[in-house]
Each structure stands twice: as structure tokens, then as C-alpha cells.
Amino acid sequence: MRQRSLVILTSVLATGALTLTACGSRDNSSGKSGDSGSSSTFTIGVDAPLSGENSNTGLGIQYGSQIAVDDANKNNWVPGVKFKLKAYDDKAQPATGQSNATSITGDKTAIGAVGPLNSGVAQSMQQVFASANMVEISPSNTNPQLTQGKNWQTAKSRPYKTYFRTATTDELQGSFAADYAYNGLKKKKAFVVDDKQTYGAGLAKIFNEKFTAAGGKVVQTDHVNAGDKDFGSLVTKIKNSGADLLYYGGQYDESALITKQLKDAGVKIPLFGGDGMYATAYTDVAGKQAEGDLATAIGVPADTLPAAKTFISTYKAKGYKGDYRGYGAYAYDATTAIIKAVKAVKDANGGKLPSDINDLRSKIVDEVGKSDFQGITGKVSFDQYGDTGNKQLTVYQVVNGEWKAVKTGTAS
């Protein structure tokens, strides 16, 4: 409670200080202005794990946003306005994410943020952005609570009007995985493990419920810690359980080691996980032992989206690190939603942006909520909770060392 009060106090002070400053940074020398002969440059913050655990997918978010900003500047999406991206490394730690959120909202040129990767990190950042009335769009958070509240299964209630996401939720993801495990793979006995994190524990719980409802049996559940390397005792439990499937709620860092140690011990059952596992790092680390493993991920395969073709070729041509496939294209669309909102605010204000940064931020939040455009992942729009209107999912399986799509799904 005390921590929350401090967050609010810090945010209020930062917001108050910003009202005394000019809006954006003026660059009179650019000569590419719209109405006034000058151009403004605004900052979009991107927060994700950029080093250490989860950075394979986190870097995909950073560079997905970077390509959107570059496209906006190159193609003059908002006449007279330029954008720059400032990346923040949260190291997959909630406290670091909260500190980054405070830095972003305290930046007098910042008008929105993309990220974070992890749902648990998002929980620590939402209040900061809400206090500053600044939009935050995650391309990867899937925990239902973030948009629909703690009681999302019985009484949905949006906790923060400034938070949006371009990723669909684990309610769908867990259902999709359970259906494929039971009806597609014909698995009847699942051993369910999670990493005790907001995302992992939430997804594992939903899979557990849906797999049981479909007719399967969860023979045992267990937990690991993020950062663990030795899963010997877990492997023994799985071996003795008679399970024909291991479901894991968590990230690729741990699941790649679990599947390796599991197969090395002679337990030849597939490991099935969520979008946190859909990364090249998983197959790189687990090697041949990952063969046949599965993961659900948000959206449809990027290479089936004609509009994402240029994005993928740019990402590769630039030699960006990380893996774009999980969330890169969704980060591109999240960033584009913010940029398009800036344009909408400008158009609605007689071709000028509000001079007060707090007013601008507030109006951007409103315009993001009205988003309705064709992004590179499909139609970009948000419902009354801030959830994406694009509710697509894919089941991937490791075939010959690479993730291959085996089934897609769309919720209406």
C-alpha cells in the first residue's frame, strides 16, 4: 500500500512538473514542419527485457517498435512531427519495470509507451502510466487481469484506462492449447508446471481448467522458480506420474532446460507451453530434445501476413538481434497505434498539437481507444477493456529443429 502511495505521489509530482514545460522538443532547423515551419520530436518509450532472461523475445519488441518509428519518420505519417524511440531494459523484473515507467512518464517529450513483455512487470507499471495519463500498449501481455480485473472470470472490470494490448489473452490461449492437447494430440494425462509468475501461473491455471473440462486429467501440478537451471527432482516427479504431456506456464529460459533434462532422462513426452516459449532461443538451447514440443502463440504466423513481409525483410536486413516472430510485428502495430493517435489529435485540433503535454497525453489515450486501422498483423482495434480486437492464435510444433505452425484459430 505504501509502495502504491509512493508511486502515485511520484507520478503526480512528475506530471505537475511537466505542465510547466513546453510540449515536445522543437526543432526549427528541420524545415519539414506542417503548419508552423518547425517540427516537433516526441519520444515513445519501449520497455522490455533487453538483456538476460527473456531478452530473445524482448529485443524483438524493441526492434519491432524501432521499425515502426523509422517508417513513420521516413514516410512523414504525421506532418511536422518526428518520433524517436527510447528503449528501457526491465530485465524481466517488476521493480525495474516500475522504475522505467517513472522515467518514461517523467520525460517531457514522451507521449506513450510500448511494452512490457511480462504480465508481472506490467502489473507494476500500469499505475504509473495511469497516474501520468499516458498510454501504454503491450504487444505481448496475455494475463486477463491486466485489462479485465482480478475477477475477470465472473465480473469484468477495467482497472486502467491507459493500458491497452495488441496480444490476445490467456483465456483464449489456455483454451486453445487444451483443445489441441486433448482433441488434436489425443493426450489424456497432463502434468502441469508453472514458474509462479503472473503470466506463467495464470496460463497454467487456465490450461488446467480447460484440459479438465475437455475430458483430460491433470495428474499432478508443480512449480519452479524463474532462473532455475537444475530440474532433476521435477523430472523424477514427471517420470513417476505417468503423464503423457507436460504443460508449462512460463518462459523459454526454463522450459528449454526442462525439456532437455526430461528427454535426457528418457521421458519422451512432449512439452507444451504458451507464447513465452515461442522463441528461437528455445530450439537453440534444447536442440534435438525439443523435437515434437509445442507452443501456442498470439496471432498467426508472421510469414502468412502479406503486410508483414516488408517488416520481416527490414528486420533481417538491419541485422537486429532477438526474435521478431513472437511479438515484433505486434510491437510494430502497437507503436503505429500511438503514432496514428498523435495524428488524430492533431487533425482534430485544427492541425496543431496541444501545447500542454498532459493535455496531449490525455488526448492520445482517447484516440488510441478509437484505433481502427489495418496494421501488419491485421485489423488493429481495442474493445472496452483495452483488449485487442485481433483474437488470433497459432499452435506451433518443433519440426526438424524449427517452430512450424500446425494449427491456427480465431475467436469472434
Binding site: 473440462a213 491456427t408 469472434s412
Partner: protein
């Protein structure tokens, strides 16, 4: 763990586009055509090749003037994958469910936004104890920019293991266009979830663990162990 793929691209003889399959066990079309080609007599193959060369040359000559004119040059439009352009919307039950119903008729509106026509086959319905097929024809085609009203018959073949409440029920559909074949789930909430739950409740409310009410066929799965 066999029978999950193949998922590799397949080259067609009809176009230069790769023809991809997601989640389907189908032989490569190019392999089938190649095998068939080699069974033809040498004279037939020579005649076919000559005909193809003449035809392609004629087409090239006819198209050359328009292709070179900027006024007539069409921008490249990528061929969409069928799942990315196909939408299903639940309309309601086609007929009221009677009190002991073991099957029901459900109406959907299927639309294709753009691209080539999409041919659809309803394959499965959420749970192993259910079967589903479109009526009157199991396969149907929807043209780009159009919608079709489709009736799907869902039958309860085995109550054991079936829940009485269907949260987020699926309809598994195979989608085909000239770009790809995709096995795709359409996932519904709201009215379809309620109506399907009503059918499950009426068919299975008095079930015993071994009860099998009026089997109407086994559920077809796309993938097997």
C-alpha cells in the same frame, strides 16, 4: 507424436506461388504431378511440352503491351492465406431444440473479405463426443466480398467426458484457397456457447458414465498420435 505435419511449402504446377499447408496431412501436389508425368509415353510428353511453349509464347505476346504501360500496370497484390480473410459469425439455432435432442442445427454467416474463393469443410466441434458437419453440402465455397449462410449440424455421439457447459466452444474448419490449406479453429463465446450448452445439457443431463445416446458417428480428428 506422428501425424502432426507436414507443414512444409508445396510447389504447385498451376502457379509459381508456394502452396502451403498448416496442419494437414496431404501429399505434395508437385510430387503427385511429377510421378504422373513420368508415367506418360515420351511422345505424349513431347507434344505436351510443345503445346505449353506455344501457349505461353502467345500469352506473353498478348500481354506484353499492357504490362509495359504504366497506366495499366496493377500493383502487386499478395495472395492472402484463407484464415486471414475468412470470418464466421454465429446467427442462432436453425430450429428449436426439443427436450431430448441429441443433435442441433446452428446457423452461421461465413464471409470472405478478399482474395481468391475459399472452400470450407467443417471438420469437428470442440469435444471428442461431438460430431459436426455443414448441411446440405459438407464442402462449400465462398467468393471474395460475399457472405453465405451456413447451417452446421452438431450431434452428440458420446456423453462420457462431455461437459454440460461449453465455454469458448470451437468449430474446426479446413480452409482452402489457391494460396494454402489451413486447419483453423473458429472460437465462439456468447450465444453459441449458450446454445451448444443447451444441446449438451438436453442430450447428456441424465447420463451415466457408460451412456452413449444414439451414436451418430465418431468425431474426426485432424491429428493422431
Amino acid at each position: 507424436m506422428s501425424g502432426i505435419g507436414p507443414v512444409e511449402p508445396v510447389n504447385t504446377a498451376e502457379t509459381d506461388d508456394s502452396y502451403d499447408i498448416i496442419g494437414a496431412d496431404a501429399p505434395r501436389l508437385a510430387d503427385r504431378l511429377t510421378a504422373r508425368w513420368h508415367t506418360l509415353p515420351a511422345r505424349t510428353r513431347r507434344t505436351a511440352l510443345a503445346t505449353a511453349v506455344i501457349t505461353l509464347s502467345t500469352i506473353a505476346i498478348l500481354l506484353a503491351p499492357t504490362a509495359g504501360s504504366p497506366d495499366h500496370a496493377d500493383p502487386y497484390t499478395p495472395m492472402p492465406w484463407p484464415a486471414n480473410v475468412t470470418e464466421w459469425r454465429y446467427l442462432g439455432t436453425a430450429a428449436p431444440l426439443n427436450s431430448h435432442a441429441t443433435s442441433g442445427l446452428f446457423d452461421f454467416e461465413v464471409s470472405v473479405d478478399n482474395g481468391p474463393p475459399v472452400t470450407l469443410t467443417v471438420a469437428d466441434a470442440a469435444f471428442a463426443g461431438l460430431t459436426a458437419h455443414a448441411t446440405p453440402e459438407p464442402d462449400f465455397t465462398v467468393l471474395a466480398g460475399t457472405s453465405r449462410r451456413i447451417t452446421v449440424e452438431i450431434s452428440v455421439s458420446d456423453c462420457s467426458g462431455l461437459p454440460l457447459k461449453a465455454d469458448l466452444p470451437f468449430l474446426d474448419v479446413t480452409l482452402r484457397n489457391t494460396r494454402a490449406i489451413q486447419h483453423h479453429s473458429f472460437i465462439f463465446d456468447g450465444a453459441y456457447s449458450r446454445d451448444l450448452s443447451k444441446l449438451l445439457h438436453r442430450a447428456c443431463r441424465t447420463r451415466t458414465p457408460a451412456q452413449h445416446p444414439r451414436p451418430t458417428g465418431s468425431a474426426r480428428s485432424q491429428n493422431a498420435d
